[in-house]
């Protein structure tokens, strides 16, 4: 190969190196700053605590419209929403709010690692009904990731 040929080959490699370094910097910085803070588990925990706080008062279960009693937004708890809660009484009776598909997702995610599945929290509490102590289980789930939005 003559000198001019060598120079051309060298400059192609220099461009390629430059592009590779640039790409690596962009990917590294992008990955660091674009990382998502996963708050789904905290939110499911907060939802469970909120339901327990508002549904059981002084050890007694408060019956009624769960949205009203616990000040939950009905639209956000729609069937296509990002939240789900199920209250299971010891009699087997259940009350459900939110996206019903999360019920199965929570069962699957309970035994395996599934990143895109909702984060689920199970909690148990007791209450008094007709003089007997009854058990109540609350399953709460959140798949609320948040998103970047354009404001223009």
């Amino acid at each position: 190969m003559n000198r001019r040929g060598e120079r051309k080959v060298l400059s192609i490699w220099l461009y390629a190196m430059l592009a590779a370094v640039g790409l690596a910097v962009i990917i590294a910085v992008g990955a660091f700053h674009g990382a998502d803070v996963d708050a789904r588990e905290y939110e499911a925990e907060v939802l469970s605590e909120r339901l327990l706080d508002c549904l059981i008062e002084n050890g007694f279960f408060i019956d009624g419209d769960i949205y009203e009693i616990c000040s939950l937004n009905r639209e956000v708890f729609g069937e296509e929403g990002k939240y789900y809660s199920q209250i299971i009484f010891s009699s087997g009776e259940r009350i459900e709010v939110g996206n019903p598909s999360f019920r199965t997702d929570c069962e699957i995610a309970r035994d395996s690692e599934a990143d895109k599945y909702p984060k689920c929290i199970w909690k148990e509490e007791t209450y008094v009904s007709n003089g007997f102590v009854e058990k109540l289980t609350i399953l709460s789930a959140s798949n609320n990731f948040g998103r970047k939005v354009s404001l223009q």
């Binding site: 120079r7 400059s11 220099l14 461009y15 430059l18 592009a19 640039g22 910097v25 962009i26 910085v29 992008g30 660091f32 700053h33 674009g34 998502d36 803070v37 708050a39 905290y42 939110e43 907060v46 939802l47 605590e49 909120r50 949205y67 000040s71 939950l72 937004n73 009905r74 639209e75 956000v76 708890f77 990002k82 939240y83 609320n144 948040g146 998103r147 970047k148 939005v149 354009s150 404001l151 223009q152």
Partner: protein, 139 residues
């Protein structure tokens, strides 16, 4: 300059111009990212959302947003004077809480939005120290 000179210098000049453009763009990208605006937007939006999920009526929540406000001032106003936050339009530009979504924008043209599930009436404003003041009322 003769043709031979052109052949030698033109590719070299082109290479250095391209190199400077690439390095300049990279530096701008890294400098922009290093302000942490993207990270702060997400952290603030999720913090406010989770606090609202946990809140009770008649509560007032104070959230320290000084660092975020400084980023907003530098990026949008070329200034560290934060007096703009005291008027209601200043708040709306940075933090908006409506339709059960908190949206925080520190860059002006984009932001981060996070949903919350409580159904309270919410009012937000900033105090002179750079704290976001969120008041929660029963509907």
């Amino acid at each position: 300059m003769d043709k031979k000179g052109d052949e030698i210098f033109a590719p070299a000049i082109m290479f250095w111009v391209l190199t400077l453009i690439v390095i300049g763009s990279l530096s701008y990208f890294v400098w922009n990212s290093s302000s942490g605006a993207i990270v702060y937007e997400q952290a603030y939006a999720k913090e406010i959302g989770l606090l609202l999920d946990n809140a009770q009526p008649n509560m007032t929540i104070l959230i320290d947003m000084k660092e975020g406000l400084e980023i907003y001032g530098e990026k949008n106003l070329d200034s560290k004077d934060l007096s703009f936050i005291l008027d209601s339009e200043g708040v709306e530009k940075i933090v908006s809480i409506e339709n059960n979504r908190v949206t925080v924008s520190l860059l002006g043209f984009r932001g981060y939005s996070f949903q919350f599930f409580t159904d309270y009436k919410i009012e937000e404003s900033f105090d002179e120290k750079g704290y976001l003041v969120v008041r929660i009322y029963d509907e």
